[in-house]
């Protein structure tokens, strides 16, 4: 694990909180996975188990006023940006207490007031939105940065190319963070790219590109922090590629025929939560006992979220046509 200097507001106490947050993200998605397997939630979902460091680590270094755009695999981003797990779970249950009053579901959780401009069901669909939000920051001189999440699959969408170029020529305060989890649904990066690193594309837009270990919390925090402050200072966007792995399938119907058990086991050894725990214990800010306690607390919070969701009312059919127009 790398050991850079962290930004001052990442105190030891904050690091310990982040450790718990990673468990909260993992347990949220593990729970959702179980519910789908049992047919207790309908629709579909995309889980980020194994990718907790890219969500928790990169959002940890943002200021409160900063914004994010997320992806279809976005539960971790939402939690890290301050969404409460009870209202998120309620949304997956389609309940009126959910973030979208039960109208959005897993792929559309947003919290605009908190700077979460939404998960997005269209691959690459959120990238231009991030550019627009960054344009507002610049035009209104609001000083916030937009952190734009997308996956390796989205890097082959036209919106990626157009957006990075636009953000670059206008020097917009946006950081593009590609969570390269090795697969766009079944399409391996080895099959779908003829380059080693997606971040190498940064030079085509005249912006810095960085490749990092996305399962290393510290490297994620340090790199994103540096990039965010670069963007905030008016120097324009940065492209970061965080190499990681999704432990689960693409969505609920995935038999994972496109990859091997051996590969999955290799990546499980790089568990970002385990690595972060070892770092914190080594640093002397966490003990095994405390770590176990935090993990259990996170587990319990998800159990409570489930109860909240189960006990919440369904939306009335009378609300069907509400909110189509402002």
């Amino acid at each position: 694990m790398s050991n850079h200097a962290l930004p001052a507001f990442i105190t030891d106490e904050r690091l310990v909180e982040l450790y718990k947050q990673m468990w909260l993200i993992r347990y949220f998605d593990e729970k959702v996975d179980q519910f789908f397997a049992k047919g207790m939630i309908h629709g579909t979902t995309h889980l980020c188990v194994g990718q907790e460091a890219t969500a928790a680590g990169s959002i940890a270094v943002l200021q409160e006023k900063d914004k994010i755009t997320s992806t279809h695999r976005g539960h971790g981003h939402c939690i890290a940006k301050g969404a409460t797990v009870d209202r998120m779970m309620a949304e997956l249950f389609g309940k009126v207490t959910g973030y979208c009053k039960g109208k959005g579901g897993s792929m559309h959780i947003a919290d605009v007031e908190k700077g979460n401009l939404g998960a997005n069901g269209i691959v690459g669909g959120g990238i231009p939105l991030a550019v627009g939000a960054a344009l507002t920051s610049k035009m209104k001189n609001e000083g916030y940065v937009v952190l734009c999440f997308f996956g390796d699959g989205a890097a082959n969408e036209g919106s990626f190319h157009e957006s990075l170029n636009l953000a670059s020529i206008w020097d917009l305060p946006v950081v593009f963070i590609c969570e390269n989890n090795q697969y766009g649904m079944s399409g391996s990066v080895k099959e779908m790219f003829n380059i080693e690193n997606i971040a190498d594309r940064a030079q085509a837009y005249g912006i810095p590109g960085k490749v990092i270990d996305g399962n290393d919390m510290l490297e994620v925090m340090n790199t994103v922090y540096e990039a965010v402050e670069h963007a905030r200072s008016g120097k324009g966007p940065v492209l970061i590629e965080a190499k990681t792995y999704r432990w689960k399938g693409h969505s609920k119907s995935d038999a994972k025929k496109y990859r091997t058990r051996e590969e999955e086991q290799e990546w499980r050894k790089k568990d970002p939560i385990k690595r972060f725990k070892e770092y914190l214990i080594d640093k002397g800010v966490l003990t095994e006992e405390k770590a176990e306690q935090l993990r259990e607390e996170a587990f319990q919070e998800i159990e409570d979220a489930v109860k909240f969701a189960e006990n919440s009312p369904e939306p009335s059919v009378d609300t069907l046509l509400e909110d189509v127009y402002a």
Binding site: C100, G118, I122, L129, V131, L166, A326
Partner: protein
């Protein structure tokens, strides 16, 4: 009252609003010193500067998305899409993002933006620069769709579109840019969803949009000579649609022809005809509802072929006579 062109009216509506409201800005391809492909933004970059008149790369998806993202975070962008045919390249951002964000987010967030875009045939620009695709956008819940036919309407409707808290697709017909009408100098707003009776008559109703309003007016002049008194209803906005004005007119005349330039098959005229058929006006109909629209063909280059692809004045006259003579 002074007369200005439709093009000048569009520009004036934007400029007056931009002088008042710092959140309003325009972005688009070649809208800077070039002044836009049709000259609508000419002089605006000199007045407002490059920050608020943003000349963009040829990136329809990104500039549409940037408009959506900036609208969601507090700006009121006007996006000029150089030709309405290019909406195909911006479609995801308009249909899957702009139209749906508010609903998907459970009513939080709003997307106050206007997409201004020149539509229609008649310039010899052929199949990829001459379409009338408004029915696509009218089909999408969450979008509003405006089609002004006069300079007066263009100015007032654009003001209303900019003030609206929803994404509005604002179709400007290229052949109308040079047409003139009386336009007040001060700002005014024409509510979205209010049709205008462009000519009162008692024998037959023509519901016409955009340039077809003018062709219907010409046809009405000819028909008057033969004693046929035509009423012309211009919906002005397709979404929301002023059903009441259309239905009342048909109740009065008992006969109706619906005409638009867009391809008839799947065109918005089918919606208007259905609204009439489903309404109380059905009982008043003395003849079947007649629809006129473009032929199911890409717009061709040759001027004679191009004209033949979309309804012309004689077609409207013929349709009206058939409707009036129906026993």
């Amino acid at each position: 009252m002074r007369e200005i062109t439709y093009l000048e009216a569009v520009r004036e509506a934007m400029s007056q609003e931009m002088r008042k409201n710092e959140d309003v800005y325009i972005l688009g391809e070649d809208i800077g010193v070039y002044g836009g492909a049709f000259g609508v933004t000419r002089g605006m970059i000199e007045e407002f500067g490059p920050e608020r008149v943003r000349n963009t790369p040829i990136s329809e998806a990104a500039i549409a998305g940037a408009a959506v993202g900036s609208a969601l975070t507090g700006m009121r962008p006007i996006l000029e899409l150089q030709f309405s045919d290019f909406i195909t390249i911006a479609m995801d951002q308009l249909v899957n993002q702009a139209a749906k964000l508010r609903y998907m987010f459970g009513g939080k967030g709003k997307v106050p933006m206007v997409v201004r875009t020149p539509a229609g045939s008649g310039t010899g620009a052929a199949a990829q620069h001459s379409q009338s695709l408004e029915a696509w956008m009218a089909h999408i819940p969450g979008l509003k769709v405006v089609q002004p036919s006069t300079a007066y309407d263009a100015k007032g409707l654009l003001k209303a579109a900019i003030d609206d808290d929803n994404p509005v697709i604002f179709y400007e017909h290229k052949l109308l840019y040079k047409t003139k009408s009386h336009v007040p100098e001060e700002q005014y707003s024409i509510p979205l969803g209010k049709a205008d009776i462009k000519r009162e008559g008692k024998d037959v109703t023509i519901v016409a949009t955009a340039i077809m309003v003018h062709k219907a007016l010409e046809a009405a002049k000819e028909l008057e000579k033969e004693g046929i008194d035509v009423e012309i209803v211009d919906p002005r906005t397709l979404v929301p649609l002023d059903e009441e004005t259309i239905v009342e007119s048909v109740k009065k005349t008992g006969r109706v022809v619906v005409v638009h330039e867009a391809v008839k098959r799947g065109g918005y005229g089918g919606e208007i005809a259905s609204v009439i058929a489903e309404s109380e006006a059905f009982d008043y109909l003395d003849a079947p509802i007649k629809r006129l629209g473009g032929l199911p063909v890409p717009i061709p280059y040759n001027p004679n072929l191009e004209k033949a692809a979309v309804p012309q004045v004689p077609d409207i006259i013929k349709a009206v006579k058939e409707t009036v003579q129906f026993k």
